[in-house]
Amino acid sequence: MVTSAAPRHAAPPVHAGPARMTATPPPIPTLLDSDVVRPAPPASRAIKAQVENFSFFYSTVQALADVSLPFRERAITALIGPSGCGKTTLLRCFNRMHDLYPGNRYVGRILLHPDNLNIVAREVDPISLRMRISMVFQKPNPFPKSIFENVAYGLRLRGIRSRSELEGRIQVALEDAALWGEVKDRLRKPAYDLSGGQQQRLCIARALANEPEVLLLDEPTSALDPIATSRIEDLIVELKERVTIAIVTHNMQQAARISDYTAFMYLGKLIEYGATAEVFQNPKCKETEDYVTGRFG
């Protein structure tokens, strides 16, 4: 919210104006009201990852078609679109999750800056890539281990053995995930004893402990209640100063509240990309407008 630049094409104040105010009661705010949507960030943010003419195939089924899309640094990019449009598929390309299953095929490039690494190139080692790019799944998936060991998992993979270093890093990660206060007295207890919202924050802590450059979030709050959701949203907004965030969400309010850029996808294609305020208030495409206003279908 600290960004200075005003929306370049601020939406006309549809529901404002004294004449209307006297005639009708104040309308329920919608996403087209400028105060619900984050102001557009400066367009000049450096690009952290660039998707270029990218297509993806599940064996013979094409799930993404010629997608080109930037993910900017210190910003949250939301992927929205109707079910089955390929949001999860795109997200999972970033950490090569598709490699786990036979027959999947990447076409095109996803460049990770600053080193201009083509993420989906065959010669790129997915393990070293996953060390730089963390992911949080739709359903919390803590390991059958203690809370401590869950967060320690990635650190141990990176060869950190010293007890004191592990403890220090785990505390920081749990604090970053806004979970430390709730678990500091029971770090040795099984992670399955936590509530769903706590488990999801644990998964975020686990991802953050690795100090990733990019954090992928696939509908991270879809299984959570409104309070847990708003905690995680606050958390995500805080985190964007340190890590590039890509989030898939079905919740238009959520996309509007927390993201800086929004990409609208439909049937495996990118339909529209822009600053979130633009996409929500002044969409260029009819489909986008219908979707963000809930008239889709």
Binding site: S83, L100, I127, K139, N141, P144, G154, G297
Partner: protein
């Protein structure tokens, strides 16, 4: 436009038909329907009761037949005497030599079957191509289908001589050879059940591990194995029960000579080997010597029960709610 919203939760069809009155209104179920349900229920109850009854019957026979023995031999002698010679002129009735034989051969068998079975299960479910798995799994299960008599002579005629190449003073009859062979026999008990448990671990858990940068082996050992542990523990318990109860291999290859020793290089008799030896022999029914097999049977039953209880506790302790 409308097709892509196919999994929109609002499906007007069902609600519409309800309101339209196309379905008949809910009625109380017919008498016949309720009778049929009653019948099925009591049938199932009967089947369950039957298995409990049989177990109860076995326990009853074991206990009642061993009572004459325990009238003659004190529990103290039974548990502390270091000799088991019920057929001798100067009989001793200490069960511990047989227990030692049983525990030692079981331990050797488990040292083979648990690591090998678990590794096979992990390899089959996490690493093997699915085509190969389809072939290998049933092939492996054949190991458990070989008659135990065959395994017994395999132990005497092949495994023990092979071991003697490394351990020159290994006697012809010993606990190591049959223990190893028994272990090979129960590998499929461990691997098959463990593989089922491992495959039941949700992919989401594995993906969580891969996403943090773990490799295949780390994921299998540090995430999948612990997640499946409650099922794998059941496999271990079944393997233990199978090893404790195995008769033929040890009767043939371990020497049938009660020996209070935990050294697998020694010859020994197990509880089961003793039972089969006496019941095939010519001791008169009703003699203390003959009744001793029921006392041995009770001991075997108590041991197996103990292992199963430990197994149940472990399962509960490690059960995962994915």
């Amino acid at each position: 436009m409308s097709t892509i919203l196919s999994d929109n939760p609002v499906s007007g069809g069902i609600a519409g038909s309800r309101n339209g009155g196309l379905l008949p209104p809910l009625r109380s179920r017919s008498l016949l329907g309720r009778l049929a349900e009653r019948f099925i229920e009591s049938g199932l109850l009967l089947a369950a009761a039957f298995s409990v009854l049989i177990t109860g019957g076995i326990v009853f026979v074991l206990v009642s037949e061993s009572l004459p023995f325990f009238r003659h031999v004190s529990a103290r002698e039974f548990l502390t005497d270091r000799l088991w010679t019920p057929m001798f002129a100067d009989p001793h009735h200490g069960i511990m030599p047989l227990v030692a034989g049983t525990l030692t051969t079981t331990a050797v068998a488990l040292l083979v079957a648990m690591p090998v079975g678990t590794l096979i299960a992990v390899w089959l479910s996490e690493f093997a191509p699915s085509r190969l798995r389809e072939v290998l799994k049933p092939a492996l299960e054949l190991l458990a289908a070989v008659p135990t008599v065959v395994y017994g002579y395999f132990a005497v005629d092949f495994v023990t001589p092979a071991l003697q190449a490394f351990i020159p003073d290994l006697p012809t009859f010993n606990m190591l050879g049959p223990g190893i062979v028994m272990g090979v026999m129960i590998i499929p008990y461990v691997s098959s059940l463990s593989e089922d448990a491992i495959r039941a671990v949700p992919m989401l858990l594995r993906e969580g591990s891969y996403a943090l940068g773990a490799g295949k082996f780390t994921t299998a050992m540090r995430v999948v194995y612990p997640a499946a542990f409650s099922g794998i523990a059941s496999a271990y318990v079944l393997a233990i029960s199978r090893a404790v109860g195995e008769t033929m291999i040890v009767a043939i290859a371990a020497g049938q000579q009660p020996n209070l020793s935990f050294n697998p290089l020694d010859p020994a008799a197990t509880i089961t080997a003793f039972i089969v030896q006496v019941s095939l022999g010519d001791l008169p029914h009703g003699s203390i010597g003959y009744q001793s097999i029921f006392a041995a049977g009770v001991t075997l039953f108590v041991m197996t029960l103990g292992f199963n209880i430990i197994g149940a506790v472990m399962r509960r302790r490690y059960r995962q709610a994915y």
